[in-house]
Protein backbone atom coordinates (compact mmCIF):
# COMPACT_ATOMS: atom_id res chain seq x y z
CA UNK A 1 0.00 0.00 0.00
CA UNK A 2 1.34 3.39 -0.99
CA UNK A 3 -0.04 6.90 -0.98
CA UNK A 4 0.16 8.87 -4.22
CA UNK A 5 -0.81 12.31 -5.44
CA UNK A 6 -3.23 12.15 -8.34
CA UNK A 7 -4.60 14.74 -10.77
CA UNK A 8 -7.93 13.70 -12.26
CA UNK A 9 -7.47 14.40 -16.00
CA UNK A 10 -11.24 14.71 -16.47
CA UNK A 11 -11.33 17.58 -13.97
CA UNK A 12 -8.04 19.40 -14.66
CA UNK A 13 -8.59 22.44 -16.90
CA UNK A 14 -5.03 23.71 -16.82
CA UNK A 15 -5.28 26.61 -14.36
CA UNK A 16 -1.69 25.83 -13.43
CA UNK A 17 -1.93 26.75 -9.76
CA UNK A 18 -0.38 23.44 -8.65
CA UNK A 19 2.84 23.74 -10.65
CA UNK A 20 3.10 27.49 -10.06
CA UNK A 21 2.82 27.22 -6.28
CA UNK A 22 4.13 23.67 -5.60
CA UNK A 23 6.74 23.18 -8.35
CA UNK A 24 8.48 20.43 -6.35
CA UNK A 25 5.48 18.15 -6.81
CA UNK A 26 3.97 19.23 -10.11
CA UNK A 27 4.98 20.25 -13.60
CA UNK A 28 3.04 21.13 -16.75
CA UNK A 29 2.50 19.24 -19.96
CA UNK A 30 2.70 20.82 -23.43
CA UNK A 31 -0.90 22.04 -23.19
CA UNK A 32 -0.57 23.55 -19.73
CA UNK A 33 -2.31 20.81 -17.77
CA UNK A 34 -0.81 19.73 -14.44
CA UNK A 35 1.33 16.61 -14.14
CA UNK A 36 2.52 14.95 -10.91
CA UNK A 37 6.29 14.56 -10.84
CA UNK A 38 7.82 11.10 -10.45
CA UNK A 39 9.21 9.87 -7.15
CA UNK A 40 7.05 11.95 -4.80
CA UNK A 41 7.37 10.53 -1.28
CA UNK A 42 4.37 11.50 0.80
CA UNK A 43 5.86 10.01 3.95
CA UNK A 44 8.06 13.12 4.11
CA UNK A 45 6.05 15.65 6.17
CA UNK A 46 7.03 18.69 4.10
CA UNK A 47 6.06 16.90 0.88
CA UNK A 48 2.75 15.86 2.37
CA UNK A 49 2.10 19.44 3.50
CA UNK A 50 2.88 20.69 0.00
CA UNK A 51 0.48 18.13 -1.50
CA UNK A 52 -2.24 19.20 0.89
CA UNK A 53 -1.79 22.85 -0.02
CA UNK A 54 -2.04 21.90 -3.72
CA UNK A 55 -5.31 20.11 -2.99
CA UNK A 56 -6.56 23.26 -1.30
CA UNK A 57 -5.65 25.64 -4.15
CA UNK A 58 -6.88 23.65 -7.16
CA UNK A 59 -9.88 25.57 -8.56
CA UNK A 60 -11.35 22.37 -10.06
CA UNK A 61 -10.74 20.17 -6.99
CA UNK A 62 -8.89 17.84 -9.37
CA UNK A 63 -6.03 16.89 -7.01
CA UNK A 64 -6.30 14.14 -4.40
CA UNK A 65 -4.19 11.72 -2.41
CA UNK A 66 -5.03 8.13 -3.29
CA UNK A 67 -3.92 4.79 -1.84
CA UNK A 68 -2.57 2.29 -4.36
CA UNK A 69 -1.56 -1.35 -4.12
CA UNK A 70 1.97 -0.82 -5.42
Amino acid sequence: MKQKVRIDPALCEGHGRCYALCPDLFTDDESGYGVVRDGIDLSTPTVLASAQSAIAICPESAISIVTTDE
Binding site: E13, G14, H15, G16, R17, Y19, A20, L21, D28, D29, E30, S31, G32, Y33, S53, A56, I57, C58, P59, E60
Partner: protein, 400 residues
Protein backbone atom coordinates in the same frame (compact mmCIF):
# COMPACT_ATOMS: atom_id res chain seq x y z
CA UNK B 1 -55.26 50.91 6.80
CA UNK B 2 -54.70 47.44 5.46
CA UNK B 3 -57.69 45.70 4.00
CA UNK B 4 -58.30 41.94 3.78
CA UNK B 5 -56.30 40.44 0.99
CA UNK B 6 -53.42 42.93 1.25
CA UNK B 7 -50.00 41.31 1.24
CA UNK B 8 -48.65 41.51 4.81
CA UNK B 9 -45.87 38.92 4.44
CA UNK B 10 -42.45 40.03 5.68
CA UNK B 11 -40.84 39.07 2.38
CA UNK B 12 -40.03 42.20 0.41
CA UNK B 13 -40.29 41.91 -3.34
CA UNK B 14 -36.53 41.55 -3.68
CA UNK B 15 -36.51 40.88 -7.40
CA UNK B 16 -38.27 44.20 -7.96
CA UNK B 17 -36.07 45.94 -5.43
CA UNK B 18 -32.83 44.88 -7.09
CA UNK B 19 -33.98 44.46 -10.71
CA UNK B 20 -30.31 44.06 -11.51
CA UNK B 21 -28.78 45.68 -14.58
CA UNK B 22 -25.08 45.07 -15.14
CA UNK B 23 -24.96 48.12 -17.45
CA UNK B 24 -26.31 50.53 -14.81
CA UNK B 25 -23.91 53.11 -13.39
CA UNK B 26 -24.37 51.56 -9.94
CA UNK B 27 -23.16 48.16 -11.14
CA UNK B 28 -20.22 49.71 -12.96
CA UNK B 29 -19.05 52.32 -10.42
CA UNK B 30 -19.69 50.80 -6.99
CA UNK B 31 -21.33 47.38 -7.14
CA UNK B 32 -19.77 45.78 -4.08
CA UNK B 33 -22.28 46.74 -1.38
CA UNK B 34 -25.13 45.85 -3.73
CA UNK B 35 -23.70 42.40 -4.49
CA UNK B 36 -23.03 41.79 -0.80
CA UNK B 37 -26.66 42.48 -0.02
CA UNK B 38 -27.79 40.27 -2.90
CA UNK B 39 -25.53 37.39 -1.80
CA UNK B 40 -27.09 37.61 1.65
CA UNK B 41 -30.72 38.28 0.85
CA UNK B 42 -31.42 37.09 -2.66
CA UNK B 43 -28.55 35.03 -4.08
CA UNK B 44 -30.45 34.20 -7.27
CA UNK B 45 -32.59 37.15 -8.32
CA UNK B 46 -34.66 37.83 -11.39
CA UNK B 47 -34.29 40.98 -13.44
CA UNK B 48 -36.68 42.36 -16.04
CA UNK B 49 -33.88 44.03 -17.99
CA UNK B 50 -33.06 42.95 -21.56
CA UNK B 51 -36.05 40.62 -21.81
CA UNK B 52 -35.46 39.05 -18.40
CA UNK B 53 -32.65 37.03 -16.82
CA UNK B 54 -31.54 35.42 -13.56
CA UNK B 55 -28.52 36.78 -11.70
CA UNK B 56 -26.42 34.58 -9.41
CA UNK B 57 -24.00 36.17 -6.94
CA UNK B 58 -22.66 33.61 -4.42
CA UNK B 59 -19.27 31.92 -4.81
CA UNK B 60 -20.57 28.37 -4.42
CA UNK B 61 -23.44 28.92 -6.84
CA UNK B 62 -21.24 30.61 -9.41
CA UNK B 63 -18.79 27.73 -9.31
CA UNK B 64 -21.46 25.11 -9.69
CA UNK B 65 -23.15 26.96 -12.57
CA UNK B 66 -19.84 27.34 -14.41
CA UNK B 67 -19.04 23.66 -13.95
CA UNK B 68 -22.54 22.45 -14.97
CA UNK B 69 -22.30 23.08 -18.70
CA UNK B 70 -24.98 20.48 -19.47
CA UNK B 71 -27.74 22.57 -17.82
CA UNK B 72 -26.13 26.00 -18.16
CA UNK B 73 -25.09 26.11 -21.81
CA UNK B 74 -22.76 28.52 -23.59
CA UNK B 75 -24.04 27.64 -27.06
CA UNK B 76 -26.60 30.49 -27.08
CA UNK B 77 -24.03 33.13 -26.14
CA UNK B 78 -22.26 34.42 -23.05
CA UNK B 79 -23.50 38.00 -22.88
CA UNK B 80 -26.85 39.72 -22.22
CA UNK B 81 -27.88 41.04 -24.72
CA UNK B 82 -26.14 38.70 -27.10
CA UNK B 83 -23.21 39.65 -29.30
CA UNK B 84 -24.19 40.07 -32.96
CA UNK B 85 -21.95 37.14 -33.89
CA UNK B 86 -20.71 33.95 -32.34
CA UNK B 87 -17.33 33.57 -30.64
CA UNK B 88 -15.66 30.18 -30.86
CA UNK B 89 -15.09 28.20 -28.78
CA UNK B 90 -16.65 30.40 -26.08
CA UNK B 91 -20.14 29.97 -27.50
CA UNK B 92 -20.15 26.20 -27.68
CA UNK B 93 -20.35 23.26 -25.26
CA UNK B 94 -18.29 20.09 -24.85
CA UNK B 95 -17.44 17.77 -26.52
CA UNK B 96 -16.82 19.98 -29.59
CA UNK B 97 -15.48 22.70 -27.32
CA UNK B 98 -12.69 20.38 -26.24
CA UNK B 99 -11.42 19.97 -29.79
CA UNK B 100 -11.01 23.73 -30.11
CA UNK B 101 -9.19 23.87 -26.79
CA UNK B 102 -6.84 21.14 -27.98
CA UNK B 103 -5.93 23.58 -30.76
CA UNK B 104 -5.62 26.71 -28.61
CA UNK B 105 -4.14 25.44 -25.33
CA UNK B 106 -0.68 24.34 -26.58
CA UNK B 107 0.41 27.69 -28.09
CA UNK B 108 -0.70 29.46 -24.89
CA UNK B 109 0.81 27.02 -22.38
CA UNK B 110 3.19 28.34 -19.69
CA UNK B 111 6.19 27.00 -21.59
CA UNK B 112 5.27 28.71 -24.84
CA UNK B 113 4.41 31.92 -23.05
CA UNK B 114 7.78 32.01 -21.28
CA UNK B 115 9.44 32.38 -24.70
CA UNK B 116 7.83 35.83 -24.96
CA UNK B 117 9.39 37.21 -21.81
CA UNK B 118 12.22 39.14 -23.48
CA UNK B 119 10.16 41.19 -25.91
CA UNK B 120 7.37 41.64 -23.35
CA UNK B 121 9.85 43.25 -20.96
CA UNK B 122 11.18 45.48 -23.75
CA UNK B 123 7.66 46.62 -24.51
CA UNK B 124 6.87 47.38 -20.86
CA UNK B 125 10.13 49.31 -20.46
CA UNK B 126 9.45 51.38 -23.57
CA UNK B 127 6.10 52.57 -22.26
CA UNK B 128 7.38 53.22 -18.73
CA UNK B 129 10.24 55.21 -20.22
CA UNK B 130 7.87 57.35 -22.26
CA UNK B 131 5.72 58.35 -19.27
CA UNK B 132 5.62 61.99 -18.23
CA UNK B 133 5.94 61.16 -14.55
CA UNK B 134 4.67 64.57 -13.39
CA UNK B 135 1.20 63.54 -14.51
CA UNK B 136 0.07 60.47 -16.41
CA UNK B 137 -2.87 58.12 -16.71
CA UNK B 138 -1.50 54.76 -15.66
CA UNK B 139 -4.23 52.98 -17.63
CA UNK B 140 -4.15 54.88 -20.92
CA UNK B 141 -0.47 55.86 -20.97
CA UNK B 142 1.09 52.66 -19.70
CA UNK B 143 -1.05 49.61 -19.00
CA UNK B 144 -3.20 49.60 -22.15
CA UNK B 145 -0.26 50.56 -24.37
CA UNK B 146 1.78 47.65 -23.09
CA UNK B 147 -0.74 44.91 -22.36
CA UNK B 148 -2.75 45.35 -25.54
CA UNK B 149 0.40 45.26 -27.67
CA UNK B 150 1.41 42.01 -25.97
CA UNK B 151 -1.93 40.46 -26.91
CA UNK B 152 -1.83 41.88 -30.43
CA UNK B 153 1.62 40.48 -31.09
CA UNK B 154 0.81 37.01 -29.74
CA UNK B 155 -2.34 36.91 -31.86
CA UNK B 156 -0.48 38.30 -34.86
CA UNK B 157 -2.06 41.69 -35.59
CA UNK B 158 0.07 44.66 -36.61
CA UNK B 159 0.58 47.18 -33.80
CA UNK B 160 -0.86 49.84 -36.13
CA UNK B 161 -4.27 48.16 -35.91
CA UNK B 162 -4.54 48.66 -32.15
CA UNK B 163 -6.81 51.70 -32.21
CA UNK B 164 -9.32 50.28 -34.67
CA UNK B 165 -9.47 46.95 -32.88
CA UNK B 166 -9.86 48.61 -29.50
CA UNK B 167 -12.63 50.86 -30.81
CA UNK B 168 -14.68 48.04 -32.35
CA UNK B 169 -14.34 45.72 -29.38
CA UNK B 170 -15.01 48.53 -26.89
CA UNK B 171 -18.26 49.46 -28.64
CA UNK B 172 -19.40 45.85 -28.61
CA UNK B 173 -18.25 45.26 -25.03
CA UNK B 174 -20.14 48.13 -23.43
CA UNK B 175 -23.11 48.79 -25.72
CA UNK B 176 -26.40 46.92 -25.73
CA UNK B 177 -25.43 45.57 -29.18
CA UNK B 178 -28.68 46.78 -30.78
CA UNK B 179 -27.82 50.35 -31.72
CA UNK B 180 -26.40 51.52 -35.00
CA UNK B 181 -22.83 51.98 -33.74
CA UNK B 182 -22.74 48.37 -32.48
CA UNK B 183 -23.97 47.01 -35.78
CA UNK B 184 -21.45 49.09 -37.66
CA UNK B 185 -18.62 48.00 -35.33
CA UNK B 186 -19.68 44.40 -35.73
CA UNK B 187 -19.70 44.60 -39.53
CA UNK B 188 -16.37 46.41 -39.70
CA UNK B 189 -14.66 44.09 -37.23
CA UNK B 190 -16.00 41.03 -39.04
CA UNK B 191 -14.72 42.30 -42.38
CA UNK B 192 -11.34 43.21 -40.92
CA UNK B 193 -10.86 39.76 -39.36
CA UNK B 194 -12.00 38.04 -42.52
CA UNK B 195 -9.60 40.09 -44.67
CA UNK B 196 -6.63 39.46 -42.42
CA UNK B 197 -7.23 35.70 -42.44
CA UNK B 198 -7.40 35.67 -46.25
CA UNK B 199 -4.30 37.81 -46.53
CA UNK B 200 -2.29 35.76 -44.04
CA UNK B 201 -3.28 32.49 -45.67
CA UNK B 202 -1.42 33.68 -48.78
CA UNK B 203 1.71 34.70 -46.85
CA UNK B 204 4.52 32.83 -45.23
CA UNK B 205 3.52 31.47 -41.80
CA UNK B 206 4.66 33.34 -38.71
CA UNK B 207 4.99 32.46 -35.05
CA UNK B 208 1.53 33.67 -34.03
CA UNK B 209 -2.04 32.55 -33.51
CA UNK B 210 -3.36 33.83 -36.83
CA UNK B 211 -0.91 31.51 -38.61
CA UNK B 212 -2.15 28.69 -36.40
CA UNK B 213 -5.76 29.43 -37.39
CA UNK B 214 -4.97 29.63 -41.08
CA UNK B 215 -3.84 25.99 -41.10
CA UNK B 216 -5.98 24.67 -38.26
CA UNK B 217 -8.00 21.49 -38.32
CA UNK B 218 -10.73 20.50 -35.90
CA UNK B 219 -11.25 16.76 -35.58
CA UNK B 220 -9.53 16.22 -38.92
CA UNK B 221 -11.45 18.85 -40.92
CA UNK B 222 -10.01 22.28 -41.79
CA UNK B 223 -11.54 25.26 -40.02
CA UNK B 224 -13.94 27.11 -42.30
CA UNK B 225 -13.35 30.82 -42.91
CA UNK B 226 -16.26 31.68 -40.59
CA UNK B 227 -15.00 29.39 -37.83
CA UNK B 228 -11.50 30.87 -37.98
CA UNK B 229 -13.00 34.36 -37.93
CA UNK B 230 -15.07 33.52 -34.85
CA UNK B 231 -12.05 32.15 -32.98
CA UNK B 232 -10.03 35.22 -33.92
CA UNK B 233 -12.85 37.47 -32.69
CA UNK B 234 -12.78 35.78 -29.30
CA UNK B 235 -8.99 36.01 -29.00
CA UNK B 236 -9.20 39.71 -29.89
CA UNK B 237 -11.80 40.46 -27.22
CA UNK B 238 -9.98 38.38 -24.62
CA UNK B 239 -6.67 39.99 -25.37
CA UNK B 240 -7.80 43.61 -25.46
CA UNK B 241 -10.32 43.80 -22.63
CA UNK B 242 -9.20 41.82 -19.64
CA UNK B 243 -5.54 41.71 -18.66
CA UNK B 244 -5.18 45.49 -18.71
CA UNK B 245 -7.77 45.88 -15.98
CA UNK B 246 -6.05 43.36 -13.70
CA UNK B 247 -2.67 45.04 -14.20
CA UNK B 248 -4.09 48.54 -13.76
CA UNK B 249 -5.88 47.43 -10.59
CA UNK B 250 -2.60 46.06 -9.24
CA UNK B 251 -0.77 49.33 -9.88
CA UNK B 252 -3.57 51.40 -8.32
CA UNK B 253 -3.51 49.14 -5.27
CA UNK B 254 0.27 49.41 -4.97
CA UNK B 255 0.08 53.21 -5.33
CA UNK B 256 -2.31 53.31 -2.39
CA UNK B 257 -0.45 50.63 -0.37
CA UNK B 258 3.29 51.37 -0.47
CA UNK B 259 3.83 48.78 2.25
CA UNK B 260 2.68 46.09 -0.19
CA UNK B 261 5.01 47.46 -2.82
CA UNK B 262 7.86 47.18 -0.33
CA UNK B 263 6.90 43.57 0.45
CA UNK B 264 6.91 42.63 -3.26
CA UNK B 265 10.35 44.15 -3.70
CA UNK B 266 11.71 42.52 -0.57
CA UNK B 267 10.36 39.10 -1.50
CA UNK B 268 9.74 38.59 -5.25
CA UNK B 269 8.43 35.06 -4.58
CA UNK B 270 5.31 36.87 -3.37
CA UNK B 271 4.41 37.41 -7.04
CA UNK B 272 3.32 33.75 -7.21
CA UNK B 273 0.30 34.47 -5.05
CA UNK B 274 0.00 38.22 -5.67
CA UNK B 275 -0.80 37.91 -9.39
CA UNK B 276 -3.76 35.61 -8.79
CA UNK B 277 -4.86 37.83 -5.93
CA UNK B 278 -5.00 40.84 -8.27
CA UNK B 279 -6.98 38.73 -10.74
CA UNK B 280 -9.42 37.76 -7.97
CA UNK B 281 -9.64 41.32 -6.70
CA UNK B 282 -10.36 42.81 -10.14
CA UNK B 283 -12.03 39.87 -11.97
CA UNK B 284 -12.20 41.86 -15.23
CA UNK B 285 -14.80 39.54 -16.74
CA UNK B 286 -17.18 40.57 -13.96
CA UNK B 287 -20.18 38.79 -15.48
CA UNK B 288 -20.75 36.02 -17.98
CA UNK B 289 -23.99 34.51 -19.21
CA UNK B 290 -25.42 31.06 -19.84
CA UNK B 291 -28.73 29.71 -21.19
CA UNK B 292 -30.77 26.97 -19.49
CA UNK B 293 -31.12 23.74 -21.47
CA UNK B 294 -33.59 22.24 -18.96
CA UNK B 295 -35.87 23.21 -16.07
CA UNK B 296 -33.74 23.30 -12.92
CA UNK B 297 -34.53 24.29 -9.33
CA UNK B 298 -31.62 26.39 -8.13
CA UNK B 299 -31.35 28.12 -4.72
CA UNK B 300 -35.13 27.74 -4.41
CA UNK B 301 -35.84 29.44 -7.74
CA UNK B 302 -37.47 27.73 -10.73
CA UNK B 303 -35.19 28.22 -13.72
CA UNK B 304 -36.86 27.22 -17.00
CA UNK B 305 -35.39 25.90 -20.22
CA UNK B 306 -34.40 28.85 -22.40
CA UNK B 307 -33.96 31.27 -19.47
CA UNK B 308 -30.86 33.43 -19.48
CA UNK B 309 -28.59 33.36 -16.43
CA UNK B 310 -26.03 36.05 -15.65
CA UNK B 311 -23.16 34.80 -13.50
CA UNK B 312 -21.60 37.26 -11.03
CA UNK B 313 -17.90 36.37 -11.36
CA UNK B 314 -16.62 39.45 -9.53
CA UNK B 315 -19.32 39.11 -6.87
CA UNK B 316 -18.24 35.50 -6.30
CA UNK B 317 -14.63 36.60 -6.00
CA UNK B 318 -15.65 39.08 -3.29
CA UNK B 319 -17.78 36.53 -1.38
CA UNK B 320 -16.90 36.75 2.31
CA UNK B 321 -17.90 33.12 2.89
CA UNK B 322 -15.01 31.99 0.64
CA UNK B 323 -12.46 34.81 1.02
CA UNK B 324 -11.60 36.42 4.36
CA UNK B 325 -11.54 40.23 4.04
CA UNK B 326 -12.57 39.94 0.38
CA UNK B 327 -12.30 43.67 -0.32
CA UNK B 328 -8.63 43.73 0.58
CA UNK B 329 -5.95 42.51 -1.83
CA UNK B 330 -3.85 40.19 0.36
CA UNK B 331 -0.74 39.52 -1.67
CA UNK B 332 -0.02 36.22 0.08
CA UNK B 333 -3.61 34.92 0.00
CA UNK B 334 -3.64 31.13 -0.01
CA UNK B 335 -5.65 29.15 -0.75
CA UNK B 336 -7.13 31.39 -3.42
CA UNK B 337 -9.59 29.42 -5.51
CA UNK B 338 -10.89 32.48 -7.32
CA UNK B 339 -13.07 32.28 -10.42
CA UNK B 340 -11.49 35.27 -12.18
CA UNK B 341 -10.24 33.06 -15.01
CA UNK B 342 -13.47 31.06 -14.94
CA UNK B 343 -13.91 27.46 -13.85
CA UNK B 344 -14.70 24.35 -15.86
CA UNK B 345 -14.34 23.84 -19.62
CA UNK B 346 -14.35 27.54 -20.52
CA UNK B 347 -11.50 28.53 -18.22
CA UNK B 348 -9.56 31.42 -19.80
CA UNK B 349 -7.25 30.06 -22.49
CA UNK B 350 -4.98 33.09 -22.13
CA UNK B 351 -4.57 32.80 -18.36
CA UNK B 352 -0.87 31.94 -18.48
CA UNK B 353 -0.13 34.81 -20.85
CA UNK B 354 -2.22 37.11 -18.66
CA UNK B 355 -0.30 36.17 -15.51
CA UNK B 356 3.01 36.81 -17.20
CA UNK B 357 1.77 40.10 -18.70
CA UNK B 358 0.63 41.30 -15.27
CA UNK B 359 3.82 40.26 -13.49
CA UNK B 360 6.17 41.85 -16.03
CA UNK B 361 3.96 44.94 -16.13
CA UNK B 362 4.25 45.37 -12.37
CA UNK B 363 7.97 44.51 -12.19
CA UNK B 364 9.03 46.97 -14.88
CA UNK B 365 6.88 49.74 -13.44
CA UNK B 366 8.28 49.27 -9.92
CA UNK B 367 11.79 48.97 -11.30
CA UNK B 368 11.56 52.40 -12.93
CA UNK B 369 9.63 54.37 -10.33
CA UNK B 370 10.96 55.53 -6.96
CA UNK B 371 7.50 56.70 -5.93
CA UNK B 372 4.07 56.88 -7.48
CA UNK B 373 0.66 57.89 -6.23
CA UNK B 374 -2.88 58.52 -7.40
CA UNK B 375 -3.46 62.25 -7.94
CA UNK B 376 -7.28 62.17 -7.96
CA UNK B 377 -9.29 59.19 -6.78
CA UNK B 378 -12.43 60.82 -8.18
CA UNK B 379 -11.01 60.39 -11.66
CA UNK B 380 -10.58 56.61 -11.39
CA UNK B 381 -13.05 55.39 -13.97
CA UNK B 382 -14.52 52.05 -14.95
CA UNK B 383 -16.57 51.16 -18.00
CA UNK B 384 -18.91 48.24 -17.99
CA UNK B 385 -20.90 45.66 -19.79
CA UNK B 386 -20.35 42.09 -18.78
CA UNK B 387 -16.78 43.15 -18.06
CA UNK B 388 -15.67 45.87 -15.68
CA UNK B 389 -12.71 47.63 -17.28
CA UNK B 390 -10.55 50.05 -15.31
CA UNK B 391 -9.85 52.72 -17.94
CA UNK B 392 -8.55 55.82 -16.12
CA UNK B 393 -6.36 56.34 -13.05
CA UNK B 394 -4.32 59.57 -12.92
CA UNK B 395 -0.94 59.30 -11.23
CA UNK B 396 2.23 61.22 -10.62
CA UNK B 397 5.58 59.88 -9.52
CA UNK B 398 9.34 60.19 -9.50
CA UNK B 399 11.82 58.00 -11.30
CA UNK B 400 14.63 56.18 -9.56
Amino acid sequence: LLVWGDDVSAEPALDELFNYDHRSSKAIVSPFDLWKQMRRECPVSHSDAYGGFWFTTRYDDVKSVLADWQNFSSAQGATIPNMPFRFLPQHMDPPLHRSYRALLNPPLSPREVRRFEGWMRELARKYVRELDVDGFDVCQDYVYQYAQRVALRVIGFDAGDIERLYHWTEVLAISDRQDESSLRASAELGQFLSDILVQRAAEERRDDLISLLVDAEIDGAPLTAEQAQSVLALLTFGGLHTTSTALATALVWLADHPEDRARLERDPSLYDTAIDEFVRFSSPVAHIARTMTADVEFEGRELKEGDKVLIGILSADRDETEFADPDIAQLDRSPNRHVGFGVGPHRCVGAHLARQTIQIGIEEFLQAMAKFSITDHHAIRFTGGEGRDLVNAPMKGTRR
